[in-house]
């Protein structure tokens, strides 16, 4: 199950369409990191609206993805975590600390636009 990655201006947008295996998720991470370099992207959006569960492997992979793209000069924002998924993540003790989040694709784009404007300050 390959996740489509779209380029939109300075950003890459990966929209997860269905449940992913661990291998799919790792693959997504690698593709995005590679594409950040190839497309000289400055922002990455991973849309997880379609994910109905997020376990410790998924969280670790998304965290690693955000940190790796960061080291390559691009900011990642995770969008579309569903309320019930957020609920179960918090119960599991999984927090995505240090990773930017936004409600949905639209908010994610706004967030990146704001970050790119002027200086990209960091937490």
């Amino acid at each position: 199950m390959e996740v489509p990655i779209l380029k939109q201006g300075d950003y890459l947008i990966a929209s997860i369409q269905s449940a992913l295996t661990d291998a799919d998720l790792s693959q997504l991470r690698e593709s995005l990191v590679e594409r950040v370099g190839r497309n000289r992207a400055r922002g990455v959006i991973v849309d997880v609206t379609a994910l109905d569960v997020m376990d410790s492997f998924a969280v670790r992979t998304l965290r690693d993805l955000a940190h790796t793209t960061w080291l390559r000069g691009a900011e990642t924002v995770i969008v579309g975590i569903q309320p019930e998924v957020a609920f179960s993540m918090v119960q599991l003790g999984l927090t995505l600390k240090g990773v930017a989040t936004a409600l949905d694709l639209e908010e994610g784009l706004l967030f990146l636009d704001e970050r790119m404007k002027g200086h990209r300050r960091r937490g």
Binding site: T21, D55, S56, F57, R60, E84, S88, L92, L94
Partner: protein
């Protein structure tokens, strides 16, 4: 629903399958959306552990209808190397594989009942139970 659902775990596709089946079962039993995600997440953790540490095994899902509210019993079992120090494995952040080490302790927090039986000879069996919650 009398019979157990049995999912053989031998590749990461089976982990996805197991959590999907668990979620469906929870939905059938009218668990809240949040608790459906909780059931799926707990299954995902123990099923992945089978794959990571034992190579293969199975997940069994069973509907419990004898209590006041319906529940699901999840059994994940393998004949792998076993867990040497269970108390340590249950600690937040402990992992022998560079994982987050939140799988087992997280699953325990998610479930109403949680039990591990493990030995180097007979492998590992995790049994978890969760009941439908009263609506607040």
């Amino acid at each position: 629903m009398a019979d157990d659902i049995k999912i053989t775990i031998k590749s990461d596709v089976d982990v996805v399958d197991a959590r999907r089946r668990g979620r469906e079962l929870a939905a059938q039993l009218d668990f809240s959306a949040g608790d459906q995600a909780v059931v799926a997440a707990a299954i995902s953790e123990v099923a992945r552990n089978i794959l990571s540490y034992a190579g293969h095994g199975e997940v069994l899902l069973h509907v419990m209808e004898d209590a006041e509210r319906p529940g699901i019993r999840i059994v994940a079992r393998d004949r792998g190397p076993g867990i040497a120090d269970i108390a340590r494995a249950m600690r937040d952040g402990y992992s022998t594989s560079g994982g987050l080490g939140l799988g087992l302790p997280g699953a325990r927090r998610l479930m109403d009942e949680f039990q591990i039986v493990s030995s180097p000879k007979r492998g590992t069996t995790v049994t978890m139970k969760v009941w439908r919650r009263r609506r607040g």
